[in-house]
Amino acid sequence: MAAKPRVKAPKKAAAGEIVTIKTLVRHNMETGQRKDSDGNKIPRDIIHTFVCTVNGKEALRSKWESAVSANPYLAFPLKIMETSEVVFSWTDDQGETVSTTKTITVA
């Protein structure tokens, strides 16, 4: 899943403000239910874990099953108390992890 994930987050926030984070990562999310043209099952390959940390502390951890759509989209709020380094990471069945970091500044 080498593609870079896309995260939409504000650059600035007021202390205590609840901001919305939107994330999108490219991934087939192969369910393991489909068969190829020879009738063999295509093995499951999905992103099973998504984690969002704020200044090193876990804010949201998500466990996904094969029913999550391809190119998973996830939107959620964060309450920003201070200037925060927000790290997003996705891990798939191949053991591959992609991450991206956003900084939200509190003036």
Binding site: L60, L74, K79
Partner: protein
């Protein structure tokens, strides 16, 4: 008075259900796969009503990409917050869709994502609160084209 009659009726249903399960174990297990999945996730298959809101389209033309929003009524403070939200699709080959382990750092207990639905079915969202209580809500989605591939 009302309460008493509800309890006794439930006990009766549980009793007969247990007997039916004993008599027809394989069929029962298949019919209640999502209940077993929910039991494993939150320790009950009968969550309380209220607090959880699950917004989905009534009719999904494409079962591959069905948007859903889950919002739980919670102040999201250290003492009173949502610990986890689980989403289950009762009619999919695997009933589990996703689990979201939340924290007060979110400020609000809400998430939006997209799921696959194989056919017309009920979708359930359950929330585990920090005090151990469990709330849930069910919504029916009609699916025109299933999303499980061929």
């Amino acid at each position: 008075m009302n309460q008493v009659s509800i309890v006794s009726r439930r006990t009766f249903v549980l009793g007969t259900g247990g007997l039916a399960a004993f008599l027809a174990l394989p069929q029962m297990a298949a019919a209640n796969e999502w209940q077993a999945a929910m039991m494993e996730l939150v320790g009950t298959s009968e969550p309380a009503e209220g607090k959880v809101d699950l917004v989905m389209p009534e009719i999904a033309e494409n079962g591959n990409v069905v948007p859903f929003d889950v919002t739980v009524d919670s102040p999201m403070t250290d003492g009173d917050h949502v610990k986890a939200v689980h989403v289950l699709a009762t009619g999919n080959p695997t009933p589990g869709v996703a689990s979201y382990m939340m924290s007060p750092a979110m400020g609000e207990a809400t998430i939006s994502s997209r799921m696959r639905l194989g056919k017309t079915q009920d979708v359930i969202a359950v929330a585990e609160m920090s005090d151990g209580s469990v709330y849930g809500v069910t919504t029916t989605v009609k699916v025109t084209i299933g999303g499980c591939g061929g």
